[in-house]
Symmetry: C2
């Protein structure tokens, strides 16, 4: 599994030790913004992550407390991954990335996320967080 060797005390360095690869943050995105919660859902994202990388990164996220793992009530061979508080608190990071990217790659910004953010950042962040938490409670 991808291991973390802390390279420095810097908060940016710390975060890059975890998310400094092409895949890990995409799983967090899928968990928080697209409501995905299973292996097969992560697998079919546009970026086409390979199964071995997905397995590796899910284990890493589990080990480091970003997700918890549960068997689905409907199907024992299906696992559900749920974001922890540690992951949910990455929403503001994801949103600032989205706002930045919207300026330099306007093609891909989803308006339903960007517009509320531009209008009232605090409210948009609060609403997004609430939405994720409601989804978690519903299970």
């Amino acid at each position: 599994m991808k291991t973390i060797n802390s390279r420095s005390d810097c908060p940016i360095g710390y975060t890059l030790d975890i998310f400094g690869d092409r895949w890990t943050m995409l799983i967090i995105r899928d968990l928080l913004l697209y409501g995905k919660d299973s292996f097969s859902e992560f697998l079919c994202s546009d970026e086409k992550i390979a199964t071995n990388i997905l397995t590796d990164r899910l284990n890493m996220l589990l080990r480091d407390g970003f997700v918890t793992k549960h068997t689905a009530p409907t199907n024992k061979s299906r696992f559900l991954y749920r974001p922890t508080e540690k992951a949910i608190e990455l929403i503001p990071v994801l949103m600032e990335i989205t706002l930045w990217a919207e300026k330099y790659n306007p093609a891909g910004a989803p308006a339903d996320i960007v517009e509320p953010l531009k209008k009232n950042r605090t409210k948009a962040l609060r609403d997004l967080k609430k939405k994720v938490e409601e989804r978690l409670k519903a299970e």
Copy 2:
């Protein structure tokens, strides 16, 4: 040089195509937060980037419009790298990462950056941006 194959239209995916590695964002950090602007300064950061990787990433950042490159007025064999607007606008992303990391890795958060941010986010961001722009004007 590290090339970018766009994997999706998603803003998070777009940003990861650029910054989804262990080094690129550290150079942006050094440029914006620590006022570094030369090869040798980037080289001596805590994370100890290798010269070949540094060369590669500086060329990538140059090609993609995150930095401009100038010969130093005092020394023709020394090059100075200056952040463009595209890079400067990453300050909010860096700051949200810093705030998140401060919660889960409190050891390394530099108080002189975190405290103003917590107190008044908008002002702290404005001040940081102004500081970078003043530094650029001074040359």
